[in-house]
């Protein structure tokens, strides 16, 4: 029996003046599926994710959350979605705990949940620190914590580990892995890191210039891609990892 998709993106387009940022994308995310959205700078990842988040409106096409459109259901969706934007600065002169408390109140949650989240993302020591004095990594963790406050059924993270050192990145992965084991949450995560997609996600979408170049499980991608490449003359054996798949597909490095 086919599971009902949590998120459906149907032929969605979005343009900004002269830039056609998203060109007819189709996606489906199943319950408790973890999906990675990979792509170089300017690929359209943020635009796509923000449309799913209901922050931007598609020019055409349809986005359904649990089978329903954004229009008329915003209130309900806001309660089940957790998200972190690519760039958000919280209130500088608020302490970490106070920031969590503020956002928790939007979901009618109290101090207890904030304590839980703080230990979940490992910010207990920074409880009394002003947000302005946090390091980049700590700030990302706070953003992740805020996203997790409402125990979201749908979690949308835009580059949650960009700029983190390997250690901090691994910590974020651990948090997300725990979430995966609980298999309550569906996740879309955008990233430039192959390793992240490989480690965390069971479905990978590679996009560039507003379109999907390739999608599937890690296994699918490695397999299919090697078939494509085999047709070419200078065959160098099957790609060993996503990195090579990606370069084959886009002609550029992910972090470009």
């Amino acid at each position: 029996m086919k599971q009902e998709a949590v998120i459906q993106v149907k032929n969605v387009h979005k343009s900004f003046k002269s830039v056609h940022a998203v060109k007819g994308i189709n996606l489906e995310i199943l319950p408790s599926q973890f999906l990675a959205l990979l792509g170089p700078n300017g690929a359209g990842k943020t635009t796509l994710v923000e449309m799913i988040e209901g922050i931007q409106k598609p020019d055409s096409g349809e986005i359904l959350i649990t089978g329903k459109p954004w229009k008329g259901n915003e209130k309900e969706f806001r309660r089940i979605i957790g998200l972190s934007l690519q760039e958000t600065r919280f209130i500088d002169k608020l302490r970490v705990f106070e920031t969590l408390r503020l956002f928790a109140s939007f979901f009618s949650l109290g101090a207890e949940r904030c304590e839980e989240v703080m230990s979940l993302v490992g910010l207990e020591e920074k409880r009394q620190a002003y947000v302005v004095n946090l390091s980049g990594g700590q700030r990302q963790k706070l953003a992740l914590g805020v996203a997790l406050l409402n125990k979201p059924k749908i979690l949308l993270l835009d580059e949650p580990t960009t700029g983190l050192d390997p250690q901090a990145r691994r910590e974020v992965w651990m948090i997300l892995k725990k979430l995966k084991d609980a298999s309550f949450t569906s996740l879309i995560l955008t990233t430039h890191y192959m390793e992240e997609a490989e480690q965390l996600c069971d479905y990978i979408v590679i996009m560039d210039h507003g379109t999907i170049l390739k999608e599937g499980t890690l296994h699918d991608l490695l397999g299919k891609s090697s078939a494509d490449i085999e047709e070419k003359e200078e065959y160098r054996g099957p790609p060993r990892n996503l990195d090579e798949v990606f370069i084959e597909l886009t002609g550029r490095h992910l972090n470009e």
């Binding site: 988040e53 806001r78 958000t88 002169k93 106070e98 109140s105 009618s108």
Partner: protein, 380 residues
Amino acid sequence: MNDLKNSQLWQLILANARELLREPAVLFWGIGFPILMSLGLGVAFTKKKDVTVMVAVIGRNHLVHTLADSVSVIQSFLQNNRAVLKVGKDGSLSRELTVPDEKLGGTNYIFRDLSWKTAMVMLKRGNLNLVMDEAQGLIQYHFDPMNPDAQLTYLKFSKLMQDPELIIRPSETEIQPLDVTGSRYIDFLVPGLICMGVMMSCMWGVSYEIIEKRSKKLLRRMIATPMKRSNFLVALITVRIAMNFVESGLLFLFAWLVFHITIQGSVPALILFFISGNIAFAGIAVFLSCNTAKTEIGNGLINLVSMPMMVLSGIFFSYHNFPGWSIPAIQKFPLTMMADGVRSIFIEGAGFGEIMLPAVIMLATGVVFFTAGLKLFKWH
């Protein structure tokens, strides 16, 4: 109780209050600066200070007695009244005579022996405005009749020559200074400063704050939650109005302690009127900031709105000095309306009856701008 503590409005209010109180610069500009301004302007315009005037005496040496000369009128006047002889660093001589006056402020005359030429140079430079010389026992006064200071010096000094007793006699009894509370400059100034403070505080504390949060993408993050949008603005405005109460209260307290200003009219009416003025400016501030994410544009908008009112609304000096045709328009500015109303309660003893209409107008102004602002409000 826990429900209240967890409510989004309360948490938003807390967050805004914390943000505000943790910014020392905000406290200085909001509290310290208006107090310093009232102190500076209040002292400058309220206390009649002693003035020092320099008078040139031409021709023979009138200041010191020399055997060769017959005693001149000026010379004998100065000596009889014990004008103090002083020798400058350059050897120049001068005599100083102080005439105290409790009511009008004392006058400190400095007489200097100068040649006509030097006297004219000093006159042009504004160092002195009265020149005297003496011929056959008659004193002649040279001054610019168009210069009121020169006229005043002449009138004061010639009177003194006729009646030297003035130096020791207390101020004339027929002069009754009108510095009773309520009619001094400081009484005019403090209500104006309070209203200006409210306007500026709303402009920067509401408008600028919103624009900055928008430019930091914090607004967009906040509305990606079930936060009620109006709660955000209500919290911001509530904290701002509370802050304005504190700022204005401290300014009043200071002016009461130092200058003994009082509120002649109804205090409840004042509170009501103050709140409606706050709401007017908060509404305008929301409207101003509803669209832009650029703090530079916010800056410009704030100046565009507040500058003309600062100049025209009679905060520092009465707007009745402006041309008659402009006054009805000026009186319709929110800042004028608020300042006039607050002043009427402070100085003229007005109560609910007098301020009701402007209070309602200001309230309506605030509500209209707030509603329009919320309609047009861009959260990202």
